[in-house]
């Protein structure tokens, strides 16, 4: 039997606080193949923490434990910092939310994409440059030659996010973690960015974790969805079944969306039940 692309078992993250440790992630487990997995939840549910924990990008004071955290059988928690550097970017890529903050303001677009390539793939500058230009075309940037020389503040939001996708996917990673990749963008370009992302991920045969608070987006885009709340997975279900969810939290989340077919005076705010947090604990 082959190992799944990503195996997460009982992943926990805690931060030191005034009273011992406080949990940010309370034991989540899932596996991922070459598929598109959505993680939804409101802010503070731990979905971004999960993404960063997988890449071991949490601040040093965070305490991360898991029964298993493996990428194609390779133990991520036991890996050295040196090994992690090859994995970050090379095997697992991360798309961050807002290109205005996630691109280095002082480096040109071309330099940032080429850096990404050259960290993981040996070769000449000229090769890196050719690959970078090709990659910019792949993410459907019209005039790559010109864009290469631009600084991040000269890009529109949509262009910035294409550049980010190019930068993160240029070393052909096997797993892509996209953390709210469209939330900072205009509604009009969101679809295009997701198309580009989807196209690249499929072309490279990679697995994708899409972290979002946007239920309809996730159910459209992904194959499978994890619903998170309070650092735990409430429910796991196929994306097209999201509307038939059984867990009360998911139902509440669904109900809180504004309906498109009729106006409502007041949106429903999900009501929380503290027992959700205890029942999932093994």
């Amino acid at each position: 039997m082959t190992d799944p692309l990503l195996e997460v078992r009982n992943l926990r993250v805690a931060y030191p606080s005034a009273h011992g440790y406080s949990d940010a992630l309370r034991g989540i487990s899932f596996t991922l193949g070459r598929e598109k997995l959505g993680i939804v939840g409101e802010s503070g549910s731990g979905k971004s923490t999960a993404g960063r924990a997988i890449m071991r990008l949490l601040p040093p004071k965070a305490r991360v434990t898991a029964d298993a955290l493996r990428l194609s059988g390779f133990d991520l928690l036991g890996a050295s910092e040196r090994q992690m550097r090859d994995i970050r970017g090379g095997r697992i890529a991360m798309i961050l939310q807002d290109p205005r903050y996630a691109l280095n303001p002082l480096k040109t677009v071309g330099a940032q994409i080429m850096e990404s390539y050259r960290i993981h793939i040996k070769g000449s500058r000229a090769e890196a440059r050719d690959r970078m230009l090709a990659m910019l075309e792949d993410v459907r940037i019209r005039d790559p030659q010109r864009v290469t020389g631009l600084y991040p503040h000269e890009l529109s939001g949509g262009m910035g996010q294409r550049v980010m996708i190019a930068m993160m996917l240029i070393p052909s990673p096997k797993l892509v973690i996209a953390d709210e990749p469209t939330s900072a963008l205009d509604v009009t370009v969101r679809g295009q960015i997701l198309d580009v992302l989807n196209e690249r991920v499929e072309a490279q045969g990679a697995g994708l974790i899409l972290i979002s608070h946007d239920l309809p987006l996730v159910s459209d885009f992904c194959d499978r969805v994890l619903v998170m709340y309070g650092g735990q997975i409430m429910e796991e279900l196929a994306a097209h079944d999201l509307s038939q969810a059984s867990h009360p939290y998911t139902i509440a989340l669904n109900a809180s969306l504004p309906p498109l077919d009729h106006a409502v005076d007041e949106l429903i705010v999900p009501e929380y039940d503290p027992t959700w947090l205890t029942e999932a604990t093994e």
Partner: protein, 357 residues
């Protein structure tokens, strides 16, 4: 042709750049106006200190037992019988021509004196600045990159002591330990009396002059003497620079683009020095410029301790003899240097930060 036509007829790139120049020109005028007002204020302040405070300038020149007649002659000679506003206009006019009057101590024009002593201080401050910046920046970066570890604590203690220790005391201790005790550094003073008239001064900076003259023996003497006072001055600058560097770096290291760089697989070294550090370079220039100006303050005390014949000692000597022309001339010069350095770092900021281009 209207501006709109112009914009249409040339490429969009050009019109953006001409707009940028328009903005730059406006900014420049605004800065120039604000600097002129500050300089005017500076002059008013020194005038106020010189004329309105209790010390009688006439008695300062003539001494307490001057005759009534001599006193009145001096009043007229100094223009003190004129109305205050006229005195101020005269003062403005003279100051703008760098005419600060005659020094009582040396009997020469204050400007000439300042030009004579300034290279000594410039040399001292520059060596101190190179040391302070060269050590302060790496220490600050190191502390930020290793936040809350023992490295951070050590850097913090080093800079706290630099903030807290009186510089003249450090200088005296340095002399006792490294000159009298260990004999590692040269005696107080800038150059051995033997070499004093031997060295052709082209730049006024003895380290450079001795090299230009090919006199390594003089260079060694001058270097041995400048090391200690420069190191003492540098310590204060280093404390300030390392602390500012640390706080700028901490701000950058918490940015999203740092997470992005780590997610790309960049090494720790590349994240800290390649990604975060260039983003603080512009802020650092301001800090370095500012601490250069503060070195003048340190120089006043350090030069007294090390018998350094520079600006600071000239100022203290003038102070002790109530030589107001010299004191106010020096004060004004320090203010002007301060404003100039601020202005330069502002210009640098506009030129080198792509976000302001």
């Amino acid at each position: 042709m209207s501006a709109g036509d112009l914009a249409n007829s040339v490429s969009s790139n050009r019109s953006a750049s001409s707009m940028r120049w328009g903005r730059a020109a406006r900014e420049f005028l605004k800065t120039a106006a604000s600097v002129s007002v500050t300089i005017l204020g500076l002059l008013a302040l020194t005038f106020f200190i010189g004329r309105l405070l209790p010390l009688d300038p006439v008695l300062a020149i003539l001494g307490d037992d001057a005759s009534q007649e001599a006193y009145e002659r001096m009043v007229i000679k100094l223009g003190l019988d004129k109305p205050m506003w006229e005195q101020f206009i005269t003062y403005l006019w003279n100051s703008l021509h760098f005419d600060f009057g005659m020094s009582l101590t040396s009997g020469k024009p204050v400007t000439e004196d300042i030009l004579r002593v300034f290279p000594a201080t410039l040399e001292l401050a520059t060596v101190a600045m190179i040391l302070g910046t060269g050590l302060g920046i790496p220490l600050g970066v190191l502390a930020a990159a290793n936040r809350d570890t023992w490295i951070d604590q050590v850097v913090r203690v080093i800079s706290l002591i630099g903030y807290s220790a009186p510089i003249f005391w450090l200088g005296l201790l340095g002399l006792v330990v490294f000159y009298a005790g260990l004999g590692w550094v040269g005696a107080p003073g800038r150059i051995d009396i033997v070499y004093q008239y031997d060295l052709e001064t082209r730049t006024g900076l003895y380290l450079i002059d001795s090299l230009l003259a090919g006199r390594l023996d003089i260079f060694a003497d001058v270097f041995g003497r400048i090391v200690m006072p420069a190191a003492i001055l540098a310590y204060g600058a280093m404390a300030y620079i390392s602390r500012m560097t640390r706080s700028f770096m901490l701000e950058q290291l918490s940015q999203e683009y740092i997470i992005a760089a780590q997610a790309k697989g960049a090494s720790r070294l590349s994240v800290v020095w390649g990604h975060a550090f260039p983003n603080i370079a512009v802020q650092l220039v301001t800090v370095v410029a500012l601490s250069y100006a503060f070195l003048l303050e340190g120089a006043v005390l350090t030069e007294t301790v090390f018998a350094w014949p520079g600006f600071g000692r000239y100022l203290t000597t003038a102070l002790l003899r109530a030589d107001m022309n010299a004191v106010l001339g020096c004060t004004l010069i320090v203010g002007l240097i301060f404003i100039t350095l601020n202005l330069l770092s502002d210009v640098f900021y506009r030129i080198f930060d792509p976000r302001t281009r």
